[in-house]
Amino acid sequence: MKLGIVVLEGPYQHEASDTAYNFAVAALEKGHEVFRVFFYHDGVNNATRLMVPPQDDRHIQKRWSELAEKHNLDLVVCVAAAQRRGILDEDEQGRHGKDANNIAPGFRISGLGQLIEAGIQCDRLVFFGD
């Protein structure tokens, strides 16, 4: 089964990101394909590499990045939601004349078309939010 996953909430604020991650891990373990994980609304906050949670807590961004590297996942951050919340890659940094960027490895910034495409390409699209 080809799966699309949508994350609508930020890390540490709501369980959505944790539930989505655990769901993705279980699906991959069962041999399903995770076609794309789309981070939308406050979900884009999962994509900052600048988060520094306490050492005894889970590192939500790193967990996603590592899962993406291991399974070659496509982690897509909605560009409009990202700009509002200060999630920038190098291109967006240049375009807006900012002094830094913060996108984490494995994530890329793109548009809502990627969500639509996931809806068309995937057998199931599963939403996690508040």
């Binding site: 959505a16 069962k30 199931r124 599963v126 508040d130």
Partner: protein, 100 residues
């Protein structure tokens, strides 16, 4: 074959479970996740709503049940599934609807 509904809100703070159950048809599956699992607590006011759902399979996510200390305290007829079971339910149903 049917639809999977996920409910992640406590029935004591939100009416999403009620909305979900009034839309669910025979052959559908309702999966309680996160605070949604409180609905299945034995003796709780919401439990009756679940047990009177006709033809709808009710499941609850084990990790969320355990995290809230509800292990062994759920009403009969609620099937406890792990994350792998969640994935299976997504596969067995035609589509997934999250009641956010």
């Amino acid at each position: 074959m049917g639809m999977l509904h996920t409910v992640n809100k406590s029935p004591y703070s939100c009416n999403t479970l009620q909305s979900c159950l009034s839309h669910a048809s025979e052959g559908d599956v309702v999966l309680l996740i996160e605070d949604g699992v409180y609905a299945a607590l034995k003796g709780g006011a919401a439990a009756e709503m679940l047990s009177s759902a006709q033809g709808v399979r009710i499941c609850a996510l084990s990790a969320d049940v355990k995290a809230r200390g509800l292990d062994g305290r759920l009403i009969d007829g609620v099937e406890v599934v792990d994350y792998g079971g969640f994935v299976d339910l997504v596969e067995q149903t035609d589509k997934t609807q999250a009641w956010l």
